[in-house]
Amino acid sequence: MFELSQDHEDFRAMVRDFAEREVAPHVAEWDRAHHFPTDLAPKMGDLGLFGLVVPEEFGGSADPEGGPFTALCVAIEELGRIDQSIGITLSAGVGLGINPILTYGSPAQKERWLPDLVSGRALAAFGLTEPDAGSDAGATRTKASLDGDSWVVNGAKAFITNSGTEITSVVTVTARTGESADGRPEISAIMIPSGTTGFEVAPAYDKLGWNISDTHGLTFSDVRVPQENLLGDRGQGFKQFLKTLDDGRIAISALALGLLVRMREEATAYAQARTAFGRPIGVNQGVSFKVADLAVMEETARLLTYKAAWLKDQQELGKHSVAEVKQAAAIAKLYTSEAAVTATRLATQIFGGNGFMEEYPVARFYRDAKILEIGEGTSEVQRMVIARNLGLSS
C-alpha cells in the first residue's frame, strides 16, 4: 500500500537518469540567461513524458490500469528535483495544455493538436488568469462573440505558462460568451492558435524565479477563430477549468515534492561537509534538527502527493469520486507548497553565506519555491476549497 509499483520505480530511475544527464548540467546557465530550452521538449516527448496520460491512439501510453497519472507525478517530481522550471514546463504542458483538449476536445480537435503536443514538438497553454481575475477566475472579462461562423475574441490574459515559446501551437482561453438565464456570465473555453491575427504575446515577464519557464501576458484584439474552436460545451468553460485545476494541483504537489527531496539531499550533504568550530556543522542540533524537519516534510509531502495521484487514477477507473480527488488535491497542494517555502528557507540557512550565492543550487530553489504557494490556486484558495468540502460554505 505504501509503495509505488515496480513499473513506476523503473520509470523513476529512467527519468532521474535523463534529468541528471540532460537537464542538470545546463540549468544554472539557463536560469541565469532566462532561457527556455526549446530543444528539451522533443527529448522529453521521445521519453513519452507528455503522453503519460494520453491514450495510444494519439501517441501516448496511458493504460488506465497502470497508474498513468501517478507516472506523470513521478516524472514531475524527478524533473523538479533537478529544476523547478523544467518540472512546471512538463506539468503545465500536460495538465494545462494537453489535458483540456484530451478531456473536452472533439475528435477533430484531438487529432489536430494532440500528436504534436504528445511528441513534444509543440506546447499548448491554458489562459484563465487575467489582470483583473485571478483567484476570482469567474470575473473573467475576456469576451468572445459569434459573428457568422467565427468567434471574435477581445481581452487579455496574465501570467500564462508555455504561451510564448517557439513551439507553442495553441492557447486555450476562457471567455465570456454571453449570460446564463440567472444573469451570471456564461463562460466558455476557446482555442486560439499561435499566430492568429490580433493575438499578441507580450515580452516575457521579469520574474523572481522559474526563470527557465516561459510566462507571458496575452492580448486579444478582434481575434477571429472558427466556431469549431470552442473547446467542450458552450457555457461549461468555468466547470471545465475547475476540474483541470484539480489535476494540476496534484502535479504541483509532485513538483514541490521534488524540491523537498533536493533540499533534504543538499542540506544533509552540506551539514556533513561544512565544518565550523572544528567539527561538521551537522553535529549541532541547531542544524541537524532542521535536516530532520526537512525529512519529515519530504515524507509527508510524498504521502499526500501519491495518495492524491492514486485517488485520481482510481477515480478514472470509477472507483473513487471526483469530490475525493478534489479534496485530496487541495490538501496536498496546500501542504507541499507551504512546506517547500519553509524547506528552502531552512536549507539556505544551513548553507550560510553560500546559500545566498547562485553558485549553489539552494539559492535557485529558494527563488523558485514561492510561486508554488500562488500558482494553480493560492494557499488561501486551497483553504477555501478544503473548508467548503467540509461543509463550511464561503
Binding site: D7, D10, F11, M14, D17, D46, G48, G51, S61, G66
Partner: protein
C-alpha cells in the same frame, strides 16, 4: 533480420567499485549494477536495424540473478526477448569462457543474421569477447564500428582510427562490435517499461547449454588474477602563482610528468 545482442551487467561506474578479497573477482554485491553503458549502443543499433525493416532482437547476458536487470533494461528499450545464462559454476569465468557460453547460447537461440556487441565492458574493458565469439561461431568479425549499414546480404561498417577511417564490408551472418560513437541510445519510455514485463525471458544453466562446469569459472580460466591493488589516493593539486613565469612553470610541470 534476426539480431542477437550480447549485453553485460556491470557494477555502476559511478559507485565505489572494488574486488572481492577472497577470490579477487569483481565485487558485485556491494554496488548497484546496471546494463553496461557501452552495451546500450549495441542494443540501440540493433533496435534501429530491426525497426527499419522486419526483425527480432534477442538480448543475451551472463551473470548472477541480478544480471537479469541488464536484460530487463534492454527489453524496456524495445528488444523482443531475452536470455539470461546463470549458474553458480560460472563465477570467476574469464573472457575465454564467456565467449564459449555466449557461442553456445547463440547456437541454441538459432542462427541469427547479425550478432552485435559493445566494444568492451565498462568493468573489465578487455574488449576481446567479440573477437573470440566471432571465431567460435565461425562468423566474420567486424569490430569497433562507428557506423553500421545493413544492405541486402551484407554489412558495411566504418572504423575510425587515429589517422584514418576504414570501411569494412562483410557478408551476413556476421558479428559487429560497436563503439560509443555509433548512435545515441534511447531512454526506455513508460510504455516500454510496461511492455517489457510481458516479454519472454528464458534462464539457462550450464546443463541447458551442454557446457561442462570445468570449462568455465575459475577452473576453466586461461587468465588468473594474481593480485589487486587499490588505486593510489588522489594527490593534492599544486597551485602555481603566475609571477610572469607561469608559462614556463607549467611547461616544467608537464615535462616532469613526461607529457612534453
Amino acid at each position: 533480420m534476426n539480431i542477437v545482442v550480447c549485453v553485460k551487467y556491470v557494477p555502476d561506474a559511478q559507485a565505489d567499485r572494488g574486488f572481492d578479497e577472497s577470490d579477487l573477482t569483481t565485487n558485485r554485491e556491494s554496488v548497484d549494477g546496471l546494463l553496461s553503458e557501452l552495451d546500450e549502443y549495441a542494443v540501440e543499433e540493433a533496435l534501429k536495424i530491426a525497426e527499419a525493416g522486419e526483425g527480432e532482437v534477442t538480448v543475451v547476458t551472463i551473470g548472477p540473478d541480478k544480471a537479469a536487470d541488464a536484460v530487463k533494461k534492454a527489453l524496456q528499450m524495445g528488444a523482443d526477448k531475452g536470455v539470461h545464462i546463470s549458474d553458480e559454476a560460472i563465477r570467476g569465468s574469464d573472457a575465454f569462457a564467456t565467449s564459449l557460453l555466449l557461442a553456445k547460447a547463440i547456437e541454441k537461440i538459432g542462427a541469427p543474421d547479425l550478432v552485435i556487441t559493445g566494444m568492451a565492458s565498462t568493468d573489465g574493458t578487455m574488449g576481446v569477447v567479440p573477437a573470440m565469439l566471432a571465431e567460435r561461431l565461425g562468423l566474420p568479425q567486424v569490430t569497433f564500428a562507428s557506423e553500421l549499414t545493413v544492405d541486402g546480404d551484407g554489412v558495411t561498417i566504418r572504423r575510425d582510427g587515429d589517422t584514418a577511417s576504414e570501411t569494412i564490408i562483410a557478408k551476413l551472418p556476421a558479428l559487429v562490435s560497436v563503439t560509443d560513437q555509433i548512435n545515441e541510445p534511447r531512454y526506455p519510455s513508460f510504455k516500454g517499461i510496461m511492455a517489457a514485463k510481458k516479454k519472454p525471458v528464458e534462464t539457462w544453466s550450464l546443463a541447458d547449454l551442454g557446457v561442462d562446469a570445468g570449462a568455465v569459472g575459475a577452473a576453466g580460466a586461461y587468465t588468473k588474477v594474481l593480485s589487486v591493488t587499490k588505486r593510489p589516493p588522489r594527490e593534492q593539486g599544486q597551485i602555481v602563482t603566475d609571477e610572469g613565469d607561469g608559462g614556463s612553470k607549467l611547461a616544467d610541470f608537464l615535462a616532469s610528468r613526461k607529457f612534453i
